[in-house]
C-alpha cells in the first residue's frame, strides 16, 4: 500500500514563500495531477515528495513510513523529469540498468571484472537484464536498447525515461511535466500511454503539469495549486463544473470562463447591469461579487431561448468570431458591464451571426457560478439543485 500523505508542508527560498501549509492525502493506486501555472510551487512540492528538496515544515508519509529523513533513493519512488535526464554516456539499456545495479549490487560487486569471480553477481546481472528487457518490451522499445540518448527522438527519450522509472518497480511514480517538450500530436498519444501504464501498474502516480488537458484526461483527481497553496482537490469533472475558487474557474477550461462583475441586491439576487439574476445568496446588499459562466453554458437568444423564455440575458454586440470546426466561439461586447463574453455555438449556425450584429446573451442561472470579492465560491441553492440532479 502506498498512499501519500502530506501534512502542513511549507517551503521558502530566501524571502519567497513557495509553499505554504500544503496538506494532501493521495490514495493508494490513485492518479493525481497537480495542476497550476508556472511558479505556483507544484514542481517544488513534487521534489519535496521525492526528497530532492527538504521542506521547512510539515511531514510526508509514503505508505506506512514517515520519509522525511530518508534519502531520495530510500523512499521507494521513481521520478520522470521534464528534460528526461538520461545519462548521455550510457546506452538505453545502461540507463535502464543503472538504478537496478545501484540497488542490487554493492560497490565492490559493481567493480569492473568482479562478475568473473562471483556466480552471484552474474545471477543478479541476469535478473537485471531480464527486467530491463521486460520493461523495454512493455514500452515497445526493444530496438532502442543499444542506442545512446543522443540518437533518440524526443518521444523515444520520454519513453526511456519512463522505462528507467519503471524498472525500479516503485510504489509511487512522480512525473514532472514529462510531456511538455513533445510536439502536440505526440503529447496526445503519450497522454493515453501514460494513463494505460498507470492502469497496468496499479501504483500511485503523482503528475505535475500546467496543461489542463493533461490533468483533465489522465487523472482520477486533480489538485489545482496557486501561489503555493492547493485551492481544490477533486475529480476533473468537479474541477471544471464545480470550482470552489474563482482562480480555479479561470485556470481550467478553454476558452476561459466568462466573468461578469455584479452587485448583490439584498433581495436574494445579483444585479448584473440591470439584469437581476435570482440567486439564493445570504449576502447583504451592495456587495461586489463575480458571476462566472462557461462559454458552453451560455447561449444566444433566438437559439436557446427567446426573450421572455425565462432565461435572463445581456445585450451585446458581436465583435469577433472564432470557428474551430467543432465549436464556434462568438465574442460579444457587453457595453453595460465593460467586458466581453464568449459564447459557444454550433459552427453550422455561423451564417446567422454576422459581425457587428446586436445579440442577447443568455445567462442560465442554474449554470452560473458566483464568487465573493475574495474569490471564494458562493454556494447558491439553485446550483446545488442542478448539481444533484
Amino acid at each position: 500500500m502506498a498512499q501519500v500523505e502530506l501534512t502542513g508542508i511549507a517551503k521558502s527560498f530566501g524571502e519567497v514563500r513557495v509553499l505554504r501549509d500544503v496538506s494532501l492525502e493521495i490514495r493508494d493506486g490513485e492518479f493525481v495531477t497537480i495542476l497550476g501555472p508556472s511558479g505556483c510551487g507544484k514542481s517544488t512540492l513534487l521534489r519535496i515528495i521525492a526528497g530532492l528538496e527538504r521542506q521547512d515544515a510539515g511531514r510526508i508519509r509514503i505508505g506506512a513510513r514517515t520519509v522525511d529523513t530518508l534519502r531520495p533513493n530510500e523512499r521507494d519512488i521513481a521520478m520522470v523529469f521534464q528534460s528526461y535526464a538520461l545519462y548521455p554516456h550510457l546506452t538505453v539499456a545502461g540507463n535502464l540498468a543503472l538504478p537496478l545495479r545501484m540497488r542490487l549490487l554493492s560497490w565492490q560487486q559493481r567493480l569492473p571484472g568482479a562478475r568473473w569471480f562471483s556466480p552471484h553477481i552474474r545471477a543478479v546481472e541476469r535478473d537485471i537484464n531480464r527486467r530491463v528487457s521486460e520493461a523495454a518490451a512493455l514500452l515497445q522499445m526493444e530496438t532502442l536498447l543499444p542506442r545512446k540518448p543522443a540518437q533518440l527522438s524526443g518521444g523515444q527519450k520520454q519513453r526511456v525515461a519512463v522505462g528507467r522509472a519503471m524498472v525500479r518497480e516503485p510504489r509511487v511514480f512522480l512525473m514532472d511535466e514529462p510531456l511538455s517538450n513533445l510536439d502536440a500530436e505526440l503529447r496526445v498519444h503519450m497522454r493515453a500511454e501514460i494513463a494505460q501504464l498507470h492502469r497496468r501498474l496499479g501504483v500511485t502516480f503523482i503528475y505535475v503539469t500546467h496543461d489542463q488537458a493533461e490533468a483533465m484526461t489522465m487523472s482520477d483527481r486533480v489538485v489545482v495549486m496557486m501561489d503555493g497553496q492547493p485551492l481544490q482537490f477533486s475529480s476533473p469533472g468537479a474541477i471544471y463544473s464545480d470550482p470552489v475558487d474563482l482562480r480555479v474557474a479561470r485556470f481550467v477550461g478553454s476558452p476561459r470562463i466568462n466573468t461578469l462583475p455584479g452587485v448583490t441586491t439584498g433581495r436574494r439576487s445579483i444585479d448584473l447591469a440591470g439584469l437581476e439574476l435570482p440567486f439564493d445568496v445570504a449576502l447583504a446588499a451592495g456587495e461586489r461579487v463575480t458571476v462566472a459562466i462557461r462559454p458552453a453554458a451560455t447561449g444566444v437568444a433566438g437559439q436557446h431561448g427567446l426573450p421572455g423564455s425565462g432565461v435572463p440575458g445581456l445585450s451585446g454586440r458581436l465583435v469577433h468570431r472564432e470557428n474551430l470546426g467543432s465549436d464556434l466561439f462568438l465574442h460579444a461586447r457587453i457595453d453595460a458591464l465593460d467586458t466581453t463574453v464568449i459564447v459557444r455555438q454550433d459552427p453550422s449556425a455561423i451564417d446567422a451571426f454576422p459581425l457587428g450584429m446586436q445579440l442577447q446573451v443568455d445567462i442560465p442561472v442554474d449554470q452560473a457560478l458566483a464568487f465573493n470579492s475574495a474569490g471564494a465560491r458562493i454556494r447558491s441553492r439553485v446550483v446545488a439543485r442542478a448539481a444533484a440532479s
Binding site: 530532492l52 528534460s83 535526464a85 545519462y87 554516456h89
Partner: protein, 278 residues
C-alpha cells in the same frame, strides 16, 4: 548573400594562410634538417634544405648515448601524467561543488579561484622553493609534481563545463541511489569528457615543455624532464655540436607531435571549446 567566394579571394586567403603556416613551421623544419646534417654542413656558408651528406644516424646515436635521453622522456612521462592525474582528482570534485552544490561562501571561493588564475606561476616560485627545501623534497619527482596539483585553471574550466550539465541529471542520479562521489565520477566526468580532454592537453603540453620549474628544483640528472635534459646536453656534452643537440630537441617534441597527429580533432575541439589560444 551566401555563395561561393570569388576565386581571387580564395587564392589570397590560401596564400596568406600558407605564408603564416610557413613562418610557424620554419623553425621546426630547420631543427629537423639540422639534426640530419654533419657539423661542417651546419656551419656552411650556403643554406641547403636537405643535407648533402646524411649524418642522421650519428647525430641521433649521440643524442641517445651521450645523455640518457630515454630517461628524460620517461621522467617527462611520469611527471606530466602524475600532474594531470592529481589535477583531475582535485579539480573535478572542486568544480562539481562550485558548479552544483549550494553552500555558504561558494561565491567567495569561486572568486578566489578566479583570482588564482590571474597570478603568474613565477610569482609563488620562491615561496614554493623554500617550502620544498624545508620539507626536504627538493630534487625529487614530488618537487616537480606537488606545486601543480591544484590547478585553478582546471577547476575553472571544469566548473564552467559542469554548469552546463542539467540539474535534473544530477537529481535523477540521486534518485537512482548514486552517492555524491559516484555522481562526480560516473555521471559528471563522462558527461564532461571533452572538457577533461582539453584540460589534459593544456596540462600535458604545459608541463612537458616546462623548463623554468625543473631548472629550479632538480639538479640530479636522473630526474631531469626533457627540456632540462636537452639543456644539460647543450652545456656539457654537445657544446657547439648542433647536430646531436637538434636531434635531442626533435626527440623531446616527438611525443607531443605524435600525440597531436593522433588526436588532432580532439585537440582542436579542446582549443576552440575553451576559447583560448594555445
Amino acid at each position: 548573400m551566401i555563395g561561393r567566394p570569388s576565386p581571387w579571394f580564395d587564392l589570397v586567403r590560401h596564400v596568406t594562410l600558407l605564408a603564416g603556416a610557413a613562418v610557424m613551421l620554419a623553425p621546426f623544419v630547420w631543427m629537423t634538417v639540422t639534426s640530419f646534417k654533419p657539423p661542417h654542413e651546419i656551419f656552411a656558408a650556403e643554406l641547403t634544405l636537405l643535407p648533402r651528406q646524411w649524418h642522421a644516424y650519428e647525430n641521433y646515436r649521440e643524442a641517445f648515448t651521450k645523455v640518457p635521453m630515454l630517461r628524460y622522456l620517461l621522467n617527462g612521462a611520469i611527471v606530466t601524467s602524475a600532474i594531470f592525474a592529481l589535477q583531475v582528482l582535485v579539480a573535478v570534485p572542486c568544480a562539481y561543488a562550485l558548479a552544483k552544490l549550494d553552500f555558504r561562501g561558494r561565491g567567495l571561493i569561486f572568486a578566489m579561484v578566479l583570482l588564482g588564475i590571474l597570478i603568474p606561476s613565477h610569482v609563488p616560485a620562491i615561496p614554493l622553493y623554500i617550502m620544498l627545501w624545508q620539507v626536504k623534497l627538493l630534487n625529487t619527482y614530488a618537487a616537480l609534481v606537488i606545486p601543480f596539483v591544484i590547478s585553478v585553471f582546471g577547476i575553472f574550466l571544469m566548473r564552467q563545463f559542469f554548469k552546463t550539465v542539467p540539474d535534473e541529471l544530477i537529481q535523477a542520479a540521486r534518485l537512482d541511489g548514486l552517492s555524491e562521489f559516484a555522481i562526480v565520477w560516473r555521471i559528471m566526468v563522462p558527461a564532461a569528457m571533452p572538457a577533461v580532454i582539453s584540460f589534459g592537453i593544456f596540462s600535458v603540453v604545459a608541463h612537458w615543455n616546462d623548463y623554468f620549474w625543473p631548472l629550479l628544483v632538480i639538479n640530479s640528472r636522473e630526474l631531469a624532464p626533457p627540456p632540462l635534459g636537452v639543456a644539460y646536453f647543450r652545456n656539457e656534452e654537445a657544446g657547439h655540436d648542433y647536430g646531436p643537440l637538434m636531434a635531442g630537441a626533435v626527440i623531446i617534441i616527438a611525443p607531443l607531435v605524435l600525440a597531436f597527429l593522433a588526436a588532432q580533432r580532439r585537440f582542436i575541439e579542446g582549443m576552440t571549446m575553451t576559447g583560448l589560444k594555445g
